[in-house]
């Protein structure tokens, strides 16, 4: 994993507060700010996108107590800062194994195909219609005819 960034606790807290608005939770998915490992994930996410100078400045641009309205205003007024912070906020959230599990998404496994799978898929006659329709483009003969 990428070495975590060196955002201060306050900077991480500001991102978490914005994430609570942007990612409030839904159906099986928890809200960003209640994920136990969210702060650590934010540090990794920040390092992965590259902290540079832009990210601290973008965090600074966040409202102190973000609401739907104030973040919407920021997104309009300073889209670059908003995109930067929201990428870290969302990226951190969707790195969480709990969130990925809630979406039914596996994490990091090798899954080589069984050799029979493609045979089974294609032996159902699914390609028959394609063969029947034939060539959808001009054939080599058509092209050679037009060239002569």
């Amino acid at each position: 994993m990428t070495r975590p960034s060196t955002l201060t606790r306050e900077q991480v807290a500001r991102i978490r507060a914005a994430a609570a608005v942007l990612l409030p939770g839904h159906a099986e998915s928890p809200a960003a700010d209640v994920l136990p490992d969210y702060d650590e994930l934010v540090q990794v996410a920040a390092a992965a996108v590259g902290e540079g100078r832009a990210l601290p400045a973008a965090i600074e641009a966040l409202p102190d107590e973000p609401t739907w309205e104030s973040l919407s205003t920021l997104a309009d007024a300073d889209p670059a800062s908003f995109e930067q912070v929201s990428l870290v906020a969302v990226g951190a959230y969707f790195m969480s194994p709990a969130v990925l599990a809630s979406l039914g998404l596996p994490t990091g496994e090798r899954r080589p195909a069984d050799r029979e799978q493609v045979v089974d898929e294609l032996s159902t006659g699914i390609l028959d219609a394609v063969y029947e329709r034939g060539c959808p483009v001009r054939t080599l003969d058509d092209v050679n005819g037009a060239t002569r």
Partner: protein, 536 residues
């Protein structure tokens, strides 16, 4: 390798992507002394971002496909202030193939004959039949996986069996059958079974950001080990500043800059350029010692006719479980239904479509980027994200036609890490391309709907990494830069083996064609070496 011999080489190759790898291997295997200079480095598959939880974020930073975003030592600045596109590429051993999706497509016969069949642009001086044996040879060498017998093509087969098309591919194939539209199991330069030094694909599904287990025929794996075993020498961190020419007008080597910033010189009897459709004209334009307008440029066409294959795409979400985390990505299936001209559609030429699984949750969420704040955040993020495993993306390779006003020139205001000028792109999509994009987007929505999608989201156009047309091939030195063998009209021992030489871009991904043409050119160089004029 560290030390270069000071004696003159048979062949200097510039650029270690697919074009340079194939040329280096072909010539070294035939006993020629070959050195390839590559500005970038080797990439260890284990360093690729795909296995890390934060991989999607890494691909937006240091592992970005955009050189301007990555800003690595090997990248040169691309000024896109006057361009409708911001091209992607990778500068290192394997070139763009390190990142490529490995969709392995041959041009269609009509792609070589656009003037004859459609009355626009120019025909290539070679045709499908000229390249077919070289396509076959490269396919066998790198282990392409696919199913022969596609009625859209002249008969040919693949050395490895196709990959499964998966639940998403099946669902879409059924939709395409309902519509009566062509589709075919994907042809991918990704081994479906272990092949030479490459393992069987393990379906991480992230091919387009570099395979983390080395199971993709990127040319650092599929070609370079064989090229070096055959005796080719590959020097990394070696940036070519200019090709040098003797008094007879023959190329006699290059000046290059090493990682310490030292200027070095290498001598060769012949030079093969494989820097891609932006890098190669950049080198030719920088080679201005005796040619103020750039080397091999008596036609004035070096850097002109840039084609970039804009990519349109439409995401569809489904209620059925599609297990969309399975690779390869790679193309599960492709369609050539709209790849050729049908004038009733309101534009000429067409686009090949590829069906791909999304690369991850953030990739799916990118489809909300153009939405208003209220329609993008809160429950909208969660809802769309919940479809990640149940979504598929159609994307189209838009055949943007050549226009002399679309150019690569030098940007002296921005320099790379060696102090050499960057590249400036002037590129505007024309009306034909715009109409094609609208048409393809609408048909892709139809295809998703026929397959049962509950929602479709059309993405803004993006880049393809297909860098083409800027040193076009032709019989007439007044209207082309190289001849039918890739030999510069003006400099008889200078050859070009990348997408620059393509006269038209075709409606499919170009790397199979670049590799086949490189093999054809390099074979010709070897076979005609005895008659080749070389510097005194």
């Amino acid at each position: 390798m560290n030390e270069l011999s000071t004696s003159r080489l048979d062949v200097l190759v510039v650029g270690a992507g697919p074009g340079g790898a194939v040329a280096s291997h072909t010539l070294a295997s035939r006993g020629f002394s070959v050195v390839c200079l590559e500005q970038g480095d080797w990439v260890n598959p284990g360093d690729m971002p795909g296995t890390k939880p934060e991989f999607e974020l890494l691909t937006r930073g240091q592992w970005s496909v955009w050189p301007n975003e990555r800003q690595g030592r090997a990248d040169y600045p691309l000024n896109v202030d006057d361009a409708d596109a911001d091209p992607i590429m990778f500068n290192g051993v394997g070139g763009g193939s390190v990142f490529y999706g490995a969709h392995w497509m041959r041009l269609l016969p009509s792609d070589f004959r656009v003037r004859s069949v459609d009355g626009i642009c120019d025909d290539w001086p070679i045709g499908y039949e000229d390249l077919a044996p070289y396509y076959d040879q490269v396919d066998r060498f790198i282990g392409v996986s696919g199913l022969g017998g596609d009625p859209a093509y002249p008969e040919h087969d693949y050395p490895l069996p196709p990959h499964p098309i998966g639940p998403g591919g099946i669902q879409m194939a059924q939709g395409m059958n309902k519509l009566g539209w062509h589709w075919w199991p994907g042809a991918n330069a990704i081994p479906s079974t272990a092949f030479k030094n490459m393992g069987q694909c393990v379906r991480w599904g992230l091919c387009e950001r570099g395979c983390p287990v080395g199971a993709k025929a990127s040319f650092d794996l599929a070609y370079w080990p064989h090229a070096t075993a055959a005796g080719a020498k590959l020097v990394t961190g070696a940036r070519v500043a200019r090709i040098t020419v003797d008094r007879q007008g023959l190329a006699n080597g290059a000046v290059w800059i090493d990682v310490e910033g030292r200027e070095r010189r290498i001598e060769a009897n012949a030079v093969v350029l494989a820097g891609n459709g932006i890098g190669t004209p950049r080198i030719l334009l920088m080679s201005d010692d005796q040619h103020p307008d750039g080397l091999a440029n008596s036609s004035g066409l070096v850097g002109k006719n840039l084609m970039l294959h804009p990519v349109n795409s439409v995401l569809g979400t489904y209620e059925e479980e599609l297990a969309a985390w399975y690779g390869p990505a790679g193309q599960l299936i492709y369609s050539l239904e709209f790849a050729d001209t049908d004038a009733s559609r309101g534009f000429l030429r067409g686009a090949k479509w590829a069906l791909m699984p999304p690369l991850g949750v953030l990739h799916v969420l990118d489809h909300l980027q153009e939405h208003s704040f209220d329609a993008r955040w809160g429950r909208h993020v969660h809802e769309l994200a919940s479809y990640t495993g149940r979504s598929m993306i159609w994307s189209g390779v838009i055949d943007d036609l050549p226009a002399e006003s679309n150019t690569v020139s030098l940007d002296r205001a921005a320099t790379d890490s060696s102090g050499l000028p960057g590249a400036k792109l002037d590129y505007r999509r024309d009306e034909n391309a715009d109409r094609m994009v609208d048409f393809m987007n609408a048909r892709m929505v139809e295809a998703h709907e026929a397959a049962g999608a509950t929602r479709t989201l059309t993405a803004p156009l993006t880049e393809s990494g297909h860098l083409l047309g800027t040193a076009r091939m032709g019989d007439d030195p007044a209207t082309s830069v190289v001849d039918a063998w890739g030999r510069a009209h003006d400099v008889p021992n200078l050859f070009i083996v990348d997408g620059s030489v393509m006269v038209t871009g075709g409606s499919v991904n170009p790397t199979a064609t670049i590799a086949a043409m490189s093999l054809r050119t390099a074979t010709h160089v070897a076979e005609t070496a005895r008659d080749q004029r070389v510097p005194a």
